[in-house]
C-alpha cells in the first residue's frame, strides 16, 4: 500500500515530489529549533503557521518547501546556521532569522517508518518528507546544542 505523506495534497501539485532519489532510512539528524521545542519546530517552511510564506509569485512554492531541512551531524547544523546568519546584512533580518529558526540544534532519530529523505549535500543539509503517521519527532530529541556557543 502506498504510504501517504503529511502535506500530500501539496506534494501532489509537483512533478517528482518527493524527489525520485529519496529513500526510507534509519538515521540520526540535526534540526534547527527553538527552546523549548514544540511541534512547530518540525513544520516545513511552507506549513509554518508562525511565518508568512515568502512568496512573490507561484514559482516560490517549491516541492522542498514541504520537507523538513535536516543536517547529517551537529557540526554541519551549527556551521550552516552561523554561515547563514552571517549572510544577513541588517538587524531586522538577523532578528527574524533567529525568531523563525530558533537558535538551537536538536539531535533527532528517524526511522524508515517516519518518511523519506534525500542524500546530504556538501554542507550536510538534506530534505526529509514525513509520512502522515502518529509518530512525533519532538519525542525523539536526545540532545540540544546552542548554535552560538
Amino acid at each position: 500500500m502506498t504510504k501517504r505523506f503529511k502535506y500530500q495534497e501539496y506534494l501532489d501539485k509537483y512533478k517528482n515530489c518527493p524527489m525520485q532519489d529519496c529513500a526510507e532510512q534509519d538515521l540520526i539528524a540535526y534540526r534547527w529549533v527553538h527552546q523549548p521545542i514544540t511541534e512547530d519546530d518540525f513544520r516545513p517552511i511552507l506549513a509554518d503557521p508562525n511565518q508568512a510564506n515568502k512568496i512573490i509569485d507561484g514559482d516560490d512554492r517549491m516541492c522542498t518547501g514541504y520537507a523538513l531541512s535536516l543536517f547529517k551531524d551537529a557540526n554541519a547544523a551549527i556551521t550552516e546556521y552561523r554561515k547563514t546568519y552571517e549572510r544577513f546584512d541588517r538587524p531586522s533580518k538577523r532578528t527574524r532569522f533567529k525568531e523563525g529558526k530558533g537558535t538551537f540544534s536538536a539531535k533527532i532519530s528517524i526511522t524508515k517508518n517516519d518518511g523519506v529523505s534525500d542524500m546530504p549535500k556538501s554542507n550536510g543539509h538534506f530534505h526529509f518528507f514525513e509520512y502522515d503517521v502518529d509518530s512525533n519527532l519532538v519525542d525523539t530529541v536526545s540532545e540540544i546544542l546552542d548554535n552560538f556557543v
Partner: protein, 211 residues
C-alpha cells in the same frame, strides 16, 4: 514587524510594469529579487526586510545598472549598493495567501533596523536564475572572468556523458571543475537529469532552501 508611520498613503503605480528577472539572494525563499520595468527598462530591487505570520515586507527601489553589475562582480557590498541607490524608497507588504494583490507605497523614513549595517558581498551560491539576470544586464554570462555559460554547457555535456556511462570530468579545467561541482551540488542535478537531454536548455539555479 516594525510599524511604518512615515509613508504616502497613495498607491504608487509601479507594480504592473515590473517583471521578475531572478533572485540575487534566495535563502529559504526569495530575499533580494531583481525586477525590470518593461516600460522604462530600469532595474528595480525587491529587498526583503521583515515579516510576521501574515505577510512579508519588501523595500523596493530603482537600481543603477552599473552599480548592480559592480555588486554582481563583488566590487561593492550590498550595503554600498543600497546606500547609493535608495534615495527614493518604496515598500510593500505581501500576504502569502494574497500574493498577487500587493500595493506599493512610497516610504518617507526608514526604520533603523532596516538599514544594512555590515558589508556582505554577492555569493553565487545564494542566487536563483542568475543566468537570466546576467542576460538582462548584457553580461554574457561572464562574472569575474568566469564564463558561466561555458560551465552550464559543461554540465550538460557531463550529464549526457553520464547517461551513456562515460565520465568526462577529467577534461574539465580546474576552475571549471570547482564551479561545476558547486553548481551541480546547488541544483541537486541528480534530480534534474531531464535538463541534460535538452541540449539548448540551461539548468535553472534553485538557490538555497533551508526549511
Amino acid at each position: 514587524m516594525e510599524s511604518l508611520d512615515k509613508y504616502d498613503n497613495e498607491e504608487v503605480q509601479l507594480k504592473n510594469s515590473l517583471v521578475r528577472i531572478g533572485d540575487l539572494i534566495n535563502i529559504d525563499g526569495p530575499m533580494l529579487v531583481v525586477f525590470k520595468n518593461i516600460t522604462s527598462q530600469d532595474f528595480y530591487l525587491f529587498d526583503w526586510v521583515d515579516n510576521n505570520n501574515k505577510s512579508n515586507r519588501w523595500l523596493i527601489y530603482k537600481v543603477d545598472k552599473k552599480d548592480l553589475i559592480h555588486f554582481l562582480k563583488t566590487k561593492i557590498s550590498y550595503k554600498t549598493l543600497f546606500e547609493k541607490n535608495s534615495s527614493t524608497l518604496y515598500f510593500t507588504d505581501i500576504e502569502s495567501e494574497e500574493f498577487q494583490a500587493f500595493k506599493i507605497f512610497k516610504l518617507k523614513g526608514l526604520p533603523l533596523g532596516y538599514k544594512p549595517d555590515k558589508d556582505v558581498l554577492f555569493d553565487l551560491k545564494d542566487s536563483k536564475n542568475l543566468d537570466k539576470i546576467l542576460k538582462n544586464l548584457n553580461l554574457d554570462n561572464n562574472l569575474n572572468g568566469v564564463d558561466y555559460s561555458k560551465e552550464y554547457n559543461m554540465i550538460e555535456l557531463t550529464f549526457k556523458a553520464e547517461l551513456t556511462g562515460q565520465n568526462i570530468s577529467h577534461l574539465w579545467p580546474s576552475h571549471i571543475k570547482a564551479n561545476v561541482l558547486n553548481i551541480k551540488i546547488q541544483n541537486n542535478l541528480n534530480y534534474t537529469q531531464p535538463h541534460a537531454s535538452k541540449s539548448n536548455r540551461l539548468p535553472e539555479q534553485k538557490g538555497l532552501v533551508l526549511q
